[in-house]
Amino acid sequence: MGLVIAAFLLVGTEVLALGAFGAKAWANVYFTPPGADAMPVQVQAGQFAFYFRYPGPDGKFGPIHPDMVNESNQNFYGLDQTHDADSKDDIVTAEMAIPVNHEIHLLMHSKDVGHAFFVPELRVHQDFVPGLDLSLHFTATKIGRYEIVCTQLCGLGHYNMKAYLSVMSQEDFDKWLKQQAANQ
């Protein structure tokens, strides 16, 4: 009996402590809204690639038209740039770049099946839920080039579904974004 009580106390204390610290760490990530100056970036996952979208000078993402998605003419997001004013200046890229020490508000959209967005170095990990657009926010504090990998089995190309995340200085980022806008 003594053993059982000891186990209860020992493991019970440990459980409460771990649970409390863990809950706090979790809450820091998930229970705080993104700051007002967080930079919005959208990421779309599809079999078997990520595409990123920056809202452009107007700060607004144009609407997605699923029936207009077409890989062959590079309309990965299904944007209607002739009719939707908000879409006109949207910048779609195959690589993600963000400024260092600037909070990012990542808007997540799945085009087809379940995927996940995982950057091990940044401890950013979230599933894409088809039919349910989620968002998360994070701040990268170290300049570098990191890999984004998919961790949710999404089909035969799952192992090869990856993209790069470049964390840059603000000036480099501005230059990069301008160049991407010119390439559209």
Binding site: V4, A7, P66, T151, Y159, N160
Partner: protein
Amino acid sequence: MHEMASQAHVAHHGPPTSFIRKYIFSLGHKVIGKQYYGLAFISVLIGMFLSWLMRVHLGWTNAKIPGLHLLSPSGAPGDVMTPEYYLQLMTMHATLMVFFVLTTAPFAAFGNYFLPIQVGAEDMPFPHFNMMSFWVTFAGFLALIASFFVGDGPTLGGWTQYAPLSAVGSVAGPGEGMGVVLWAISIGLFCVGQLLGALNFITTTLDMRTKGMSLWRMPMTVWGWFITSVMGLTAFAVLMPACILLILDHVAGTSFFVPSNLVINDQLQPHSGGSTLLWQHLFWFFGHPEVYIAIVPGMGIVSHVLIPNLRRPLLSHRVLIYSFGALAVLSYMVYGHHMFVSGMNPVSSIAFSFPTLIITIPSTIIVLIWLASLYGSRLRINSASLFALGFISMFITGGVSGFFLAQPSLDIMLHATYFVVGHFHMVMAVAAMFGIFAGTYFWFPKMFGRMMDERLGKLHFWLTFVGAYAIFMPFHYLGLAGNIRRYQAFAPDYMQRFIPVHQFITIAALITGAAQLIFVYNLVYSRYRGAPAPENPWEATSLEWSTPSSPPPFDNFGGQLPVVYHDPYQYGIESSTGDYVMQTSPEQIKSVRDEA
């Protein structure tokens, strides 16, 4: 005895005379138990073979595996595995192992054979249900195997079959059409089989006990199977309708698990309004109890095997049983820990995290009871007791990583990595396998009247024990370093450096797998040539050792149901038989610790 004996009449049916009734469509619980064991045996051989193919491919991605194209011309053109074929083999490995091995062998096989004997019954109360239970399960097995031979092969969606990948049909990839439908039929049938089995187990335990067999006088194994049956009854009853809904999404154009506006291959999918998270909730509401369905019978077997070898009872049988019960109740409250980063409300992650941490308390108590009972004992070392020790070792090692995974904040890093794969292989898969081995070495003399070879058994143990650690410990390091599971090759740059570790694991897996052939040989050889088993080789007390012969006669006790006088584990006492007394012995003894 007589009021109980009249209840036992419900199950009374004479021994069969025709071959078909005796060995194929048998109503006898012992033959059904052996049929389940045989099914698990075939499944584990296939499952292990698939894991070999996967391991070779992970270590040497472009390696030719001689003859592989014969297995699947499209899956392995030129004997090199394609990415989709890897995922198909992985899905089949997991499905076979989780359902047709880890559920059938410790629960359905040993449970069918020994539960009625250990409670002193002639048979299960519903023998036709029992027969149906096996044959429905077997039909499920055939449906699963059939998917190897249809169109583009078996499903590649993983054993969890997350929607919408699993629900939109073949547009999502090879095997996602007919392969998924066959998978869902297979698992749906499996659920029916296990529901029928669970009903029989529960009724046998509650209604068929012989005179004197109070609940507290049931062996730990019976408690394990009984509690597992209660879990099975509720868990499989959730998975079965989930499988039906999945099939409907395929064949009837419904959208239970598929939301609107999905675009696959530039085609807008004709589905709308479904929820992908719904599938995950339904699946894991079954899926987490399932891991306890796989492990609790093993815990019962390990306790049952250890005690006669310890020659003294465990520290407390009641606390052990209460802990089994606590595991069963908590197992429903923790399932969300599979979904911490799935996109469900993050508040529920914390709600699921605390029960997950709390479930370590009964697990710790179970382990401490075993360890404290082992402390200072003179354990009889034989193959069965070694595998029981191995079970405890695996359960502890695998359980410790559970403390990490229980926390959503750590799961941000560890989810979907090899850390998880290492964790569940140790705590559930290898541990449950060790429980199956312990049960086999322990009960073989009773089931076949012959002893297994002890020298080969010990060799088998050491190779398997060391091999299992060599395979699954490195998984944890890989996971911490960010190696993602379900990858057929390591395309991300940072994963290149893990390849040598995978090569090491592959070699360890090939050797450990080959070591299982020792067990296969031992099993087959001993069945026909083993030394004749004495009546009670382990000097054990429970009812299976009181039957008139080994294997027991058709009605188990030769027409005379036993009467029980003692707690199942009266060891370390003085009696006319030595240091133990049979449950059926009317001898008055001074009990060491009669909790009954």
